[in-house]
Amino acid sequence: MKSLYFLPTLLLGASFCAADETPPVTLDAIPKVFSQALPPLEKFNGKTGDKVPAFAVRPGYQVTLAADGLTEARFMVFDDKGTLYLSQPDKKKGISALMDKDGDGVYETKTQFVSNMQAAHGVDFYDGWLWFATATGAHKARDTNGDGVADETIGLIAEGTLPRSGHWWKGLCVTPDGFYLSIGDSGDHDDNFATEREKIWLYSLDGKTRKLWASGIRNTEKMRLRPGTKELWGSDHGTDNIGKDWGESKEKGQPFTDAGPPEEFNHYVEGAFYGHPFVEGNRVPRPDYLNRPDIIDLAARTTPPAWSFGAHWAGNGWTFLTKDYFPNASGDVFVAFHGSANSSAKAGYRIERLMFDALTGRPYGSQLIVSTLGANGQQLDRPVDCVEAPDGTILFSCDSGRIFRISKAN
């Protein structure tokens, strides 16, 4: 009978012995993780209208076609009369003006507002003028007789002045203090520190003088002020192929590159440095620059992103929401992600909502609104820019030459 008292002890001992015999974890036993996999989208049953591809749309929203047949559709801005301007960086094009005269959400009229302007890109509307940057210059234009075609154009930065090649897409944001213009990297991660590239410049409104605003950017294609403030914000693309120096290859895969570096959403403060090309995301050195003697100093001077998105998502254009059309969304941002070119699985390809805290004015979370990948991960379209329409709906332009409209589900 006494021996029964020992039974639990024996069993306990046996279980310890069993634990000791468990083989150690081997690497082969751990499955490979695809960091870019899409979240489950079964519940994304928001409506899509006629001629809209099978996008996955968050419930509560719907996507309809606003305009079609606009080759090279890039950046958009509204003027104070509800005309939508669209840049088309094609030699024969320039900037189109679109109107939705009957207010049904379809932009049925189009005029060629600016013609024969190679590589028109960043656009903004200020003080009665449509301001735009090309690859190598900046101008402002207006239509004084109401025919939808600009009849007055003033050069601000002469064509041929700004550096082309590489990331030539100049972002533009016009404010009473002057206009901000971004100049991107000449390559993927070139050291342009001592040049005018990889920087945001603040030009006087006549374009004659400029001062350095911020540095260490890679490719910020659009900047805007946060409504009610003078804070300049922008979305910056991260670099490609970070794992090449660590031996990534087609055979071994590219796990480093697939997961990093993040795409940045930055608050561009005067004089601040954002790390590129030396330091990325939350102050991680790019391997190519790891052995620089000043790498710690560079990191210490780097402002980390205010928000990080997935690697290679390619946040091109975006907009602050200023109206109360979408519930509790005023002050938030909608970002158009063009989608990855440098990851194993397609990543990005979406419209994402970035939530801003009303008290701190800082981002605190983000959610997927529209995925432009199909059920099998195939590319249905590539979003370029987002803009808030006067009625509070959001328009997004795509590579296919279409503009889609996001509204509340009926």
């Binding site: 030699k91 190679q118 590589a119 082309r164 090649s165 000449s186 490609d240 192929n241 440098n342």
Partner: protein, 199 residues
């Protein structure tokens, strides 16, 4: 003391090692000359790759038609090795259409034509049939293409970036010269070389 058997084995291993080493040295030497002669020898077959169409479909959206958005001075500073690496990576990533070695060489040549400010030309097809020679290929748009054969010149048809012509067949089609002019710039291609602007 090492046994005789063991010594023999060691000797054999040593001999094998010497052979292997010699083979290795020879391969390196052959590879070295291969690279030298390979680089010097120009391609000698029509190019079965529409390099200009590829560029228009996969590169022009960012780099502009005929490389108009490039900073050519910046481009000219790149070594051939760097240019080749960048083209390979860009094709695979941003272009989403990977290229093979000869296709990369053709893209490098097309980019050299931007830097040289000259029209680019490709011979994609050469076919002799019923005493006639049919030639076709790609060329920088808005160029004139003439075929020079036995001191005669025949103007080719050009539509966008495609050119074509049917001629009386010569004994050797590789003797044909393709002469391209655009404005006051000119490029000559010997048919046997496949595409212009090779180094």
């Amino acid at each position: 003391m090492i046994s005789r058997k063991k010594a023999q084995k060691t000797q054999k291993t040593g001999l094998l090692f010497v052979f292997f080493y010699a083979f290795l040295r020879l391969s390196v030497l052959l590879a070295f000359f291969g690279v030298i002669f390979g680089a010097a020898k120009k391609e000698s077959a029509p190019l079965d790759f529409a390099a200009i169409s590829y560029y228009n479909d996969h590169c022009a959206r960012c780099h502009g038609p005929d490389g108009v958005n490039y900073d050519l001075k910046h481009l000219a500073q790149s070594s051939d090795e760097k240019l080749s690496q960048v083209i390979e990576l860009m094709a695979e990533n941003q272009g989403q259409a990977p290229l093979e070695a000869r296709q990369i060489a053709a893209q490098m040549a097309y980019h050299r034509s931007f830097m040289d400010g000259q029209p680019f030309v490709i011979l994609s097809r050469a076919k002799t049939e019923n005493g006639q020679l049919q030639l076709s290929g790609e060329v920088t748009p808005e160029s004139q293409v003439q075929i020079c054969l036995e001191e005669k010149r025949y103007p080719a048809q050009v539509e966008d970036q495609n050119w074509s012509i049917t001629l009386p067949a010569p004994t050797d089609w590789k003797q044909v010269t393709i002469e391209v002019t655009k404005g006051n710039t000119k490029t000559e291609l010997k048919a046997g070389e496949g595409f212009s602007h090779q180094k």
